[in-house]
């Protein structure tokens, strides 16, 4: 509707309210409808916003009847928040008219196209105005009258368009269905009033996330990361990436991550519209072990891991792995997954076989002052630990990176101080300083 038309409408009906269709919302809805359609058939053609044609050939093995198929399509559309109508017929026009003349599902059985189309008025067809005027002049108002005309004479008078209309009126297909590629990016967008606080922003975001999760569900995908874009008032954008510890489709986890991100760094200005996009992966089902303790459903663990990653940082949550290195304390963090497989050796057995020493690292290593007597350390004092050295083991020389400009040369000691605490201490040859590196026990 144009601006002028709006103004005229408001003048004529002063109590009327003009609502404009939101462009981003319409785009998201169209994409969502395509996702739903593609979950039924790979051959989908989107003719205009809100109308899709699907090739349903071969689905008879999956659905006992066409009516059941139509109902399933309605249900799938409902899951992504779109009320839909379904028409099934032998040609696209028949299917479209079946959908337009029902509230839920209408099937036009093969061979009955003429009996369905014949009583319908021609106004249901999108006919170019000169052609429509010519048909009105001929006194033709319904499909049956058009289909009864001789094609040769119709072609001579109305040309190719007239013949195409005639074939459509007889329920014949006039053009092949051209399948479109699915949308590569899965985005949900929405506009809102000026939002300054986080809670209302999260409420709007939640509705977008619910739709996004439903779309991922119908495509059998999970999100391994999210991208949140906020349009700010009057200009500007706030774009942020929301990391997920593991791929999931859990709206609660997404909102939790978004909340933490927004609370950590709130948008600098009121928000006028939101956009959320998912980095996707195919969904994988986990095979559980018969002989292992039952674990929480993967989605519950994913949720927990995502929340922990958002809380502490992605690089601070995971499954530790000892690196194959001479350097004490070298480790790597890997994504945590529920491990399968048999039991490892029993704890008591392991204690008997290897009784230590075990170390808790001091990160970062604490600088210390060490007093010497006859070349031996006799006392240690750092910010947290101090005492006289009672027992001492070492040094163990550690040299690494001698081929680089900043080689690492350390002498490691184990020192027991008065009070009975044992520490791992090293002398850094490069910096000529002592550091407490771990607490043994």
């Amino acid at each position: 509707m144009s601006d002028r038309a709006c103004r005229i409408g408001c003048l004529l009906v002063p109590e009327s309210t003009v609502r404009f269709v939101s462009g981003p919302l319409l785009r998201s809805a169209t994409d969502a409808l395509v996702d739903v359609a593609r979950s039924f058939s790979p051959r989908v053609s989107g003719e205009n916003a809100g109308k899709l044609c699907l090739d349903l050939g071969g689905l008879a093995n999956l659905y006992p009847s066409e009516h059941k198929l139509g109902s399933a399509m309605l249900l799938a559309a409902e899951r992504v928040g779109l009320p839909a109508r379904v028409g099934i017929g032998a040609s696209r026009l028949v299917a479209e008219l079946a959908a337009r003349t029902t509230d839920s599902v209408q099937i036009v059985p093969r061979g009955e196209e003429r009996s369905f189309l014949d009583p319908l008025p021609l106004s249901l067809l999108h006919v170019p105005e000169p052609l429509a005027a010519a048909l009105r002049r001929f006194g033709i108002e319904c499909f049956a009258e058009l289909a009864a005309l001789p094609p040769r004479g119709l072609g001579l008078r109305l040309g190719y368009e007239g013949l195409r209309l005639w074939r459509e009126a007889r329920g014949e297909e006039t053009a092949p269905l051209v399948s479109e590629r699915p949308p590569e990016r899965i985005v949900e967008e929405g506009e809102c009033d000026l939002l300054c606080r986080i809670e209302p922003l999260l409420m709007v975001l939640q509705s977008l996330c619910v739709r996004l999760a439903a779309r991922l569900s119908v495509r059998g995908l999970v999100a391994c990361g999210l991208f949140l874009g906020l349009d700010l008032d009057p200009v500007g954008k706030d774009e942020r990436r929301l990391g997920l510890a593991s791929p999931c489709r859990d709206v609660r986890a997404w909102i939790g991550v978004a909340r933490l991100s927004l609370e950590e760094s709130p948008p600098p200005a009121p928000v006028t519209s939101l956009r959320i996009e998912a980095d996707v992966l195919p969904e994988r089902r986990a095979q559980l072990d018969l002989f292992e303790p039952r674990v929480q459903a993967a989605t519950g663990l994913d949720d927990a891991l995502a929340r922990l990653a958002a809380l502490s940082g992605e690089d601070r949550v995971g499954s530790p792995r000892a690196l194959d290195s001479h350097r004490p304390g070298a480790f790597a963090l890997e994504p945590f997954k529920i491990a399968a497989g048999g039991k490892v050796r029993g704890a008591q057995e392991s204690q008997a076989q290897n009784s230590g020493p075990f170390v808790l690292a001091v990160r970062p290593a604490e600088e210390a002052r060490v007093a010497h007597s006859r070349g031996h350390p006799v006392s240690l004092a750092s910010r947290s630990f101090h005492g006289r050295v009672v027992r001492l083991a070492g040094p163990w020389r550690f040299d690494s990176g001698w081929w680089r400009d900043d080689p690492l040369g350390r002498d490691y000691y184990e020192m027991e101080l008065t009070g009975g605490d044992v520490f791992r201490v090293f002398f850094d040859h490069g910096r000529r300083r002592w550091f407490v590196d771990g607490i043994c026990g």
Binding site: E292, P293, V295, Q296, G300, L301, A304, L305, R307, L308, L311, S312, G313, R316, V317, S319, P320, A322, L323, P328, A330, F331, L333, I338, A339, G341, G342, K343, V344, R345, G346, A347, S350, Q351, Q353, N354, S355, G356, P357, F358, V359, L360, A361, V362, R363, H376, S384, R391, L392, A393, E414, E416, G419, G420, D421, V422, G438, I439, C440, G441
Partner: protein, 219 residues
């Protein structure tokens, strides 16, 4: 017919008696008590208090060295049972190589390097609420200078542990969980073990720890 039924009853009661004598059959209440305790992986501790309560908080106060051995033993015991374990580590002291040598199955272990105690408690709640972990260890480290922790958080952790049946050991130098702990232990003595006489061949082998129970409720 009557005689046959009596014989069947006698036979059944005999079987039941024999099973009870062999320790294979318990009354329901007893089973609940038995299932509520799991091995800590530390023989001294298990002999002292029978194990750690499942579905409750166990506070272990370690005033000096020795926390490392306790932490890795607990994790090794949990992962060897086939459970997944989580260690919430605000002191950032977990060392993978030591854990490997203590036979902790690192594939079953989630390490959360929380920043500060409040975050650690929040992380503990999240890990417990997931229900995926049989044991969630809170290694709170030295008690000084890290700010107070609310009792509400401990109450939530206790309730979550109760709901999920997880073992929640808390290792620290000062008491934190207080009345919310089902079992509180204290390292009453620690002696370092060294091998070798001269400095050249001297090696630190580990700590001999002795424990005492300071609080025990419903275990």
């Amino acid at each position: 017919m009557r005689l046959s039924e009596d014989m069947q009853v006698c036979e059944a009661s005999g079987i039941i008696r024999e099973l009870r004598q062999r320790g294979l059959l318990f009354p329901a209440g007893e089973i609940r008590t038995r299932a509520a305790v799991v091995s800590s992986g530390i023989a001294k501790l298990d002999s002292l208090c029978g194990g750690l309560p499942a579905g409750g908080i166990t506070e272990i106060l370690v005033p000096g060295s020795g926390a490392a051995g306790i932490l890795y033993a607990l994790l090794a015991a949990a992962t060897s049972r086939g459970e997944s374990a989580a260690v919430i580590d605000p002191r950032d002291g977990f060392e993978a190589s030591s854990a490997t040598s203590a036979c902790v199955n690192l594939q079953r272990l989630l390490w959360v390097r929380a920043r500060g105690r409040r975050q650690a408690l929040h992380a503990c709640e999240i890990a417990l609420a997931s229900g995926a972990f049989g044991m969630v260890v809170l290694d709170m480290g030295p008690g000084r200078g890290r700010g107070p922790v609310s009792t509400a958080a401990w109450m939530r952790i206790r309730n979550l542990a109760r709901t999920t049946g997880a073992v929640v050991p808390v290792i620290s130098t000062l008491s934190m969980a207080g009345p919310f702990a089902s079992l509180a232990l204290r390292v009453s003595g620690s002696v370092s073990r060294w091998r070798g006489k001269s400095r050249a061949d001297k090696l630190f082998e580990g700590m001999e720890l002795s424990f005492e129970v300071t609080r025990k409720r419903g275990v």
